[in-house]
């Protein structure tokens, strides 16, 4: 990434300043004081006034509506707060309870990790694969195909479809098909049987996965320079798979990074489909995830301090995963 440049590059983008900076390093003795002055923080901030002005609308709102609430939530995680009375400080109590005294949290953490490890990478690859295949079609067909594949994300009635398919009587499509084919003798209670809940939810989640990442990949593919493909063909790239690995993917690395972050935030925060299809709490907590557990405490039991502690742990988990994934993605195309 371009941000990891050397220190000298890291000074300023404005032309005059860049020139002055390199001149100062040439005449090291005479220019020493000037260089120091330029490196001083205050000078650099003043020099880049326009940058700060341009991003101020965003960041003022960002601090107000995101940073402040997040900081407040982390603060609340060290308190007991029932949303009616003022929060009372109770130190690490929420965290110790979370890890030492809450069996359901451990179950939900395990489920979330299974979810993330299975659906995260597969969803990501599916987004990429379908975006790439769709890009092979003519532009008019492309818009239509994109709509078809994005449909589950835009329609918002995924639960309706899947509750029909996974319905627990013999009229449920899945039961019906399996019984007609003779795989099972009597209907399965897909969403009430602890053995099936998690696998079924994973399938539904995969079906829902062509969302944000998918659209950003499609947009990213549009910006890949077409002449690169011709050059690659001359250089001896033989088939479309090589083309994908050596040309397309390296050219859309920024989008790949974006897609990965979105994928992490989505697969660790799975809750909606579990609540809608399996209920909250689900049978034997088989469909419990960290976020359903959080919602249980936050909106049902009115223990916001504890819910905030769960959110903080989940946050740290995602940050760690993100670090790992970004490191992997730097190696694409090498």
């Amino acid at each position: 990434m371009s941000r990891n440049k050397s220190d000298s590059d890291n000074r300023d983008m404005n032309n005059d300043n860049n020139k002055a900076g390199s001149a100062a390093s040439l005449y090291s003795l005479a220019g020493y004081t000037i260089a120091r002055k330029q490196r001083s923080l205050f000078y650099r901030i003043k020099k880049n006034k326009i940058s700060y002005i341009m991003m101020s609308p965003y960041f003022i709102l960002f601090f107000l509506f995101t940073v402040l609430p997040v900081v407040m939530s982390i603060g609340l995680s060290f308190t007991y707060f029932n949303m009616l009375e003022a929060p009372t400080f109770n130190g690490w109590a929420n965290y110790t309870k979370l890890f030492l005294n809450d069996d359901i949290f451990i179950v939900s953490l395990k489920n979330t990790l299974i979810f993330a490890v299975v659906t995260g990478p597969i969803s990501y690859l599916l987004c990429l694969l379908f975006a790439w295949i769709i890009n092979e079609f003519r532009p008019k067909v492309r818009a239509f195909l994109t709509l078809i594949f994005y449909a589950p994300s835009i329609c918002g009635n995924a639960y309706m479809v899947w509750s029909l398919i996974l319905s627990s009587d013999r009229y449920g499509y899945l039961n019906g098909i399996l019984m007609n084919l003779g795989f099972i003798d009597e209907q399965k209670l897909w969403m009430q049987d602890a053995d099936y809940i998690l696998p079924c939810l994973i399938v539904v989640q995969l079906w829902l996965s062509l969302g944000t990442g998918f659209l950003s990949f499609i947009a990213g593919l549009q910006t890949v320079d077409k002449t690169l493909y011709e050059a690659a063909a001359i250089d001896g790239v033989k088939n479309r798979w090589q083309e994908l690995w050596f040309v397309t993917l390296p050219a859309m690395k920024p989008q790949l990074m974006f897609g990965a972050v979105m994928q992490i935030t989505q697969s660790f925060a799975v809750a909606d489909i579990s609540i809608q299809l399996a209920g909250n709490p689900s049978v034997n907590y088989a469909g419990a995830t960290v976020v359903t557990h959080l919602l249980d405490y936050g909106s049902t039991r009115f223990d916001m301090g504890y819910a905030s502690a769960i959110a903080t742990v989940l946050f740290l988990l995602m940050v760690g995963t993100n670090k790992l994934v970004q490191r992997l993605l730097r190696r694409v195309g090498e």
Binding site: I50, L68, S216
Partner: protein, 283 residues
Amino acid sequence: MARQRKINRSVAGNGILFTIMIICGIFMSLPLVMIVNNSLKPLDEIFQYPPAIFVKNPTMNNFTDLFNVMSDSWVPFSRYIMNTIIITGLGTFGHVIVASLAAYVLSKHKFPGQKILFNMVILSMMFSWTVTQIPNYMIISWLHINNTYLALILPAWQYGMGLYLMKQFMEQLPMSLMESARLDGASEYRIFWSIVMPNVKPAWLTLAIFQFQQMWGNTGSMFLRDEQLKPLQFALQQIAAGGTARAGASAAVTFIIAAVPIIFFLTCQSNVLETMTTSGIKE
């Protein structure tokens, strides 16, 4: 151009890919098919058990039902539509501009604090919004913008995803593009508006799709108390919640709630796909 690009393609490969597309496409289009069919079903088919996917005797009754309910609502329905246009329109347009401005600076300028600010935006996306809702409500109350459009619009302008998406696309633009404009004496705002933004058109059209969907789905019931301020989504969901008596109207509501973002999606997406077939801006 489209012909030329298809180098390195085998017939067998094409065949495999098309088959995958057809099988998956049928699965993925299920929700669309169901919404359209349900909205056309007469009442007896809606309540039929086991439910069928396809409609047998299509009728427009559900829509006439819906329009009847709409026409005797307490607040005139045009008012809800107006509210939605303001909230969704400003929420989407404002976010694209504000986030792109910040993304431009973060990707193409160098200044102290840049890296920290950007990392904060990325990290913020990983914090569960469920628990920040209460602090958020408190902040909106402190600002005295509760029960105004601003309570929905201003927080929508600072979603982290938009900035991140725009920044990733702008990073790909060559520096030379901006440098030559700078030498010609163009101001930073001008460079942003007439050089950077046209070159990342697929990005901001995609962002507009996401943001529109988000704003359109917002019922605003957390912050808006006055019935006159509430958006269409709220009114429609109220109708749909009418139970058995309104099952028909409710199916029509589901159709409309899905149709609006789909129309917006198709408009934007066809532009995303059109713009770049002719471009060659990269180095």
